[in-house]
Amino acid sequence: MTAILAGVSRRRLTAVVVALVVLASGTASVLGLGLLAASDAPFDHAFAQQSGAHAVAAFDPSKVPATGLAMRGASGPFPQATVRPTIDGFRLSPMTVVGRADPLGPVDKVSVDEGRWVRGPGEIVLNREFAGPRLAGATLTVDGRPLRVVGVAYSVSRTADAWVSPQDLPHPQSLQMLYRFAQAATEDQVRAGMIAVTRGLPTGALIGSRSYLSVRLSANGAIAPIVPFLVAFAVLGVVMSVLIVVNVVSGSVVAGYFRIGMLKSLGFTPGQVVAAHVVQVLLPAALGVTLGALLGNLLSVPLLEDAAQVYGTGALTVAPWIDVVVPAGLLTLVALAALVPALRAGRLSAIEAITTGRAPRAEHGRAAQRLLGGLRLPRAVTLGLARPFARPARAATMLAAVLFGATTITFALGLGSSLYLIEDALLHDRSAPLEVAMMRGPDAVPYDGSLLKTIKDQPGTAHVVGIDRRDVTIPGLSGSLPMTVFDGDVSWTGRQLISGRWFRTPDEVVVPTGLLNSMALSVGDSTALEQDGARRTVHIVGEIFETDDAGLQVFALDPAATATRYEVALTPGTDLETYRNTLQTALQGRPIDVSLNDENGRRLFSILLGMISTLTVLLAVVAGLGVFNAVVLDTRERVHDLGVLKAIGMEPRQTIAMVIAGVAGLGLLAGLVALPAGLALHRWILPVMAAAAGTGLPPGDLDVYTWDRLTILAASGLTIAILGALIPATWAARTHPAPALRTE
């Protein structure tokens, strides 16, 4: 044991490197696997946690009294109303408000994320999905009554947009009941459950009900596209971790051969030598893996919080099995990686171990030295460039580490850029940042063209297109589907086509992938559309990139359409907020909303970008540590040569250049190989993500690797290598030549 502890203490740097590498690998693995595991049926987990409602039903209070609805095992009845609150004079979207004194209950245990639950009249708790930054702590006005936002809560069953005290809804439009059934795996079972609980109620008492399965479908639809990239990162992370840990640990044991030889010459048995070296790396590895698991859990908190929002579920945490499997797996890996070279060392004679541990065999790399020595480059650089050939196995693992790191960076940059374009296409808030919507209902604005004129006359208007939404049916497809009708050119709005072209006449339509797949149609086909009992044939001229309503939509042109909203693009340099306020003032007194395209829509992109960035940085750090370790081992082995070189006049900057050059060639090579590898991964993963979301992808969204980006990415391997080698290179430059010359 004394020899073991002495070994750890004597080789402090090696111990630190092992601990750091295992720490980074542990962090990356916990994070990657944690995110991956959280994406496995998060809705079901959250639903079970909250005792989610299998059915949410609304009853007519004039047909059935509240007392007639209450039953054991259900929550409710709660008063419910749909309201249109205003904040600072701006009208918000309609929201379903439920009067609920207690967030808990047998069904739908609502979790309060921020603030607190309502304690009495005049307070409101917003559903997390409804709460934006502007609303936190704000006061909303509903039907002239102020309601202070006191909390943000979350119901996985999505039973309300907001909750108030029941006293704030004395005259509810409906009564909400939340049910759980013994059997609720299918729509039929949920329907049967609803029939059972409404048996005996007056006809017409049930206004409507919603099954949790539709919410589940929508939540899972949001998760599906994310899983492929998480799998890619998790696989990259685990492979890199294994590679680097094996490289570092086995390298550290090989570097200890000299000491092994010394111990053997002092009478250590092969078994003692093996045990000493395995334990010597296990001690720092255990420290590293503990800290790594801790850091992984800490880093995963904000990411999982974000993931929970994307997934539409309650709080997510790292699965406990990950905190067991990752440390245990890494420690096993460390033990195995140490065991193989330690066993080999155990079998060597003392002299052989000492000789092997002194330096690499000089024959390795001689040809490279001669070849590179003839280049018209500074001698320090050519000396460095030839270094990898002296330790080909170490160089190969370093190359692999940098290759994986650079591939991750290449893939991550492409993924981020593609997601950016995809978000642009789906939200089109950048191309058409403003939306002018007319209210429906009794106070609706008559369509007389005056609104369009007001918008067009407003300074700063670049484009306007009027939009109407109609319900149509397609023979052979059950139910109706929305048809978005434009009154003019739509190409500037940012919507993207996957294939084909935009419509030019009213009998041409573009449709999403979802509809094409559902109807087994292709671009170029014709199909019948029915609207208000009238049937007409339309030609599908394009496939639009659109995922709302599972892609079951139609987009068409009708220059005579009665627009219910307008999308507006501004001329370059126009201030959006000023434009909006001016237009709002011009339209004051009319029930018209002038709103910015929802910035919250970009949240998904920010969350994904956050996940991608964190995982990429971690994996790049792991790759950099691999380089760091290799360079540390190399400079330690060559410390005597370093002393010689310094004695004959090698300057510190030349030493740094030599050490950096030793990894630069590998880094450059890895970066160049990583380009096609990253591109291929991007080309493979993106369509898989899109397919999981039930859509194709516009080709332009994959063509994100411009020449300037490729040039920068080609240097990513070089950058990882240089950053990884910089610190040991500085140490090498500071090595005192006199003690170095005395080193055996």
Binding site: G365, A390, G649
Partner: protein
């Protein structure tokens, strides 16, 4: 005459141990001086200080007009490259470089054009009778041949001073004599030489002056300056 090497009141301590104590020591241009002493007497420390490989704890080291003790790391490296040639007991050749590449190394590190450096290396290899080994690796050479390569490397940049630390210590007697003759020949051509050895016969044969160190101080001759 201004001495080429001048150490004034130099003390060098390593943690608790003192390697040199208030040492004052001078060497004139073209002189051959042998530094003798038992193991741990401070001989190698003295060479390291002259070469700028180490810094004194106190005192000054001036070589060829350069205040070596005040040089930066880079400055000390340049100083060694331009003015010092070093020969070691165990040769200290780089095993993965050929003989020619080993010899060329100091000039290549200094940025001397390849053509000019190769002409100089060829001259030295011919003079030291190792020209047929130009493309051989050091491991294939005998000890004497390796030391000749080391001498050629040390002379590559025409240094003002040649420092030899036990240059014959790892050689058999005949080969050691041969190497010694080479060093004497160099001294006869005006090359300043400091030779560290623990062999009195060797010191007497090749040096015009012998300085003996005992516990980091000059034992003889008596007086303030060891000349």
């Amino acid at each position: 005459m201004t001495p080429l090497i001048q150490l004034t009141a130099v003390t060098k301590r390593y943690d608790a141990a003192t390697a040199l104590r208030e040492l004052t020591f001078e060497v004139g241009a073209g002189e051959a001086v042998a530094v003798m002493g038992a193991s741990g007497s401070g001989k190698s420390t003295l060479l390291n200080l002259v070469a700028g490989l180490d810094r004194p704890t106190s005192g000054t080291v001036a070589v060829d007009g350069v205040q070596v003790h005040a040089l930066s790391e880079a400055g000390a490296a340049r100083f060694r490259r331009q003015r010092i040639g070093m020969i070691f007991q165990f040769f200290n050749l780089l095993d993965d470089l050929t003989v020619l590449d080993n010899i060329l190394l100091p000039s290549r590190l200094g940025g001397t054009p390849a053509g000019r450096a190769e002409i100089r290396a060829a001259e030295l290899m011919a003079a030291l009778r190792i020209d047929r080994h130009a493309t051989t690796y050091p491991a294939r050479l005998s000890g004497g041949e390796r030391q000749r390569v080391a001498i050629a490397r040390a002379l590559m940049n025409r240094p003002a001073i040649l420092l030899a630390d036990e240059p014959t210590g790892a050689l058999d007697t005949a080969t050691g004599e041969d190497v010694l003759d080479l060093l004497l020949d160099l001294n006869r051509t005006g090359q300043t030489l400091i030779l560290v050895t623990h062999d009195p016969a060797l010191a007497a044969r090749c040096a015009q002056r012998v300085v003996t160190l005992v516990d980091g101080a000059v034992a003889a001759p008596a007086g303030g300056v060891a000349r």
